[in-house]
């Protein structure tokens, strides 16, 4: 069994998916405090990024359970909590 991912590693996965989905953001510094909406990621792209992240971390939960986070760090923390919980 691989070492479980922590919240910072989940942040890295989310940021990788953001850069993949929105090529314009390839060179922009992105961190925990950024929100996807503020980065200009549209709602379908946000869903795509979150789904790809869930698959990468091996978590199968309905998307509605991930409403609420205001930035990438909070989203990573929530996914981390769902994984552990």
């Amino acid at each position: 069994m691989a070492h479980p991912l922590d919240s910072d590693q989940i942040v890295d996965i989310i940021i990788g998916e953001i850069r993949e989905t929105v090529p314009e953001l390839a060179d922009r510094p992105i961190g925990r405090a950024d929100s996807m909406a503020d980065l200009g990621v549209d709602s379908i792209e946000r869903s795509e990024i979150i789904l790809a992240t869930l698959e990468a971390v091996g978590l199968k939960i309905p998307m509605v359970q991930l409403h609420g986070p205001r930035n990438i760090g909070e989203l990573a923390d929530l996914i981390d909590a769902k994984k552990s919980g």
Partner: protein
């Protein structure tokens, strides 16, 4: 002389993509050279069943990227090719001169991205919970309307129309109707790339419509419309965009005029061609043009290379007494573009009109009916004044277009 319409509808721009390459220059060069582009199909998702010969046909090079990368990565190959031919036609016609609200788009074709859908289905079969949300709008053919109207200022209307292998010609008819009704001043008829997957190819093979494996070691000989050795059509990736406009609208370029057009149903459910329906469509288009078959100097056939299709079409040529006209078969060079065929073949007629030449018909070694004036292995110089373009589709769709040279229209 043709009846003079008050405000005739003409073709003001062309964009093409096929196995010959992207754009009119590559198309013109390959077309008149009769260059071979047939080979075994290798695009992912087109594999023949185990133990059977690979499918033969034509695949095009990667289209020039006209969409921004963020959009392009979410577009199907069909979508990227549509944007590319639209970009070429748009610039050719100078469509920026027309108000966006006065421009329409008719995309011809249905089930256009079947190959990519089949690949996605296989890729997510074991992990359906992670299906990308975008697939929820990408499976609709109208996704092409969205892509094209997001990338170009088309704000009159956009829609898709289906007519099986006649879809491209049906799009021309509907674009004409939209201009004539006053809904728009210019309208793009786009014959979209029909992206067949292995399942569709095998079904067409099973149906007996597609060429057999007889020529699998000589793909360049396999596509033989109107030749005694024909045994089915061969698939060819293609797409074309034609800009139609009102004569008075002020676009400077004129390839030719749409003098008459008809699209009718003959009451067939399946793939069988129908001679009466074909003749009726031709007579309707000719009547609208104020012409008779005697005025037609050039025929561009549907001519797929299926035995029953070619035989039925020859019966139609005989009934219309087209023995005086020059005839060629564009599918002998491009393969059968299905949804795209009618549009790219209409573009072929217009390009031949401008060049004063007819392209060769590949592999027409023993014409099924030698009493017609076929264009064989070499191109011929020929002034087109009035051309008849046929397109037929499964399920009883028969279309005929009568195209006039610019000077023949007025």
């Amino acid at each position: 002389m043709p009846r003079k319409a008050a405000d005739p509808i003409r073709f003001a721009g062309i964009g093409v993509a096929s196995g010959l390459g992207h754009g009119r220059a590559a198309f013109r060069e390959g077309l008149f050279a009769g260059r071979n582009v047939f080979s075994k199909l290798t695009r992912e998702g087109r594999e023949a069943p185990e133990g059977e010969e690979p499918f033969l046909g034509v695949e095009m090079p990667e289209p020039p990227q006209v969409l921004p990368p963020r959009i392009a990565r979410t577009a199907t190959l069909t979508g990227r090719v549509a944007a590319s031919v639209l970009a070429e036609a748009w610039e050719d016609a100078g469509l920026d001169a027309i108000a966006p609200e006065r421009i329409g788009l008719v995309v011809g074709g249905s089930n256009l991205a079947a190959r990519e859908q089949a690949l996605a289905l296989a890729a997510y079969a074991e992990r359906r919970a992670f299906v990308p949300p975008r697939h929820g709008h990408m499976f609709l053919d109208t996704d092409l309307c969205g892509l094209c109207t997001a990338a170009f200022p088309i704000r009159g209307f956009a829609m898709t129309v289906g007519g099986a292998s006649a879809s491209g010609a049906v799009a021309v008819v509907e674009a004409r109707n939209a201009i004539r009704s006053g809904r728009v001043d210019a309208c793009i008829a786009l014959g979209a790339m029909q992206d067949l997957g292995a399942h569709d190819l095998q079904a067409l093979r099973a149906l007996g419509a597609m060429g057999s494996a007889r020529f699998s070691e000589a793909p360049e000989k396999a596509c033989r419309p109107m030749d005694a050795d024909h045994d089915g059509f061969l698939y060819g990736e293609a797409a074309a965009a034609l800009v139609l406009c009102r004569e008075s609208v002020g676009l400077s370029k004129t390839y030719g005029t749409l003098l008459g057009a008809a699209s009718i149903a003959d009451g067939t459910r399946g793939p069988e061609p129908n001679h009466e329906g074909q003749v009726r469509a031709a007579r309707m288009a000719l009547a609208e043009a104020g012409l008779t078959a005697a005025d037609i100097d050039t025929v561009n056939g549907h001519a797929t290379g299926t035995p029953s299709g070619d035989d039925t079409e020859l019966e139609t040529y005989r009934a219309l007494k087209l023995h005086h006209a020059r005839i060629n078969a564009t599918k002998s060079i491009l393969g059968h573009g299905l949804a795209a065929a009618g549009a790219i073949e209409a573009a072929t007629v217009l390009i031949q009109m401008a060049e004063g030449r007819l392209h060769p018909t590949r592999n027409l070694e023993t014409p099924l009916d030698p009493s017609f004036r076929w264009v064989g292995a070499a191109p011929v110089d020929h002034e087109i004044r009035h051309a008849l373009k046929f397109s037929f589709g499964f399920s009883g769709v028969n279309t005929a277009l009568v195209l006039g040279a610019p000077e023949a229209s007025g």
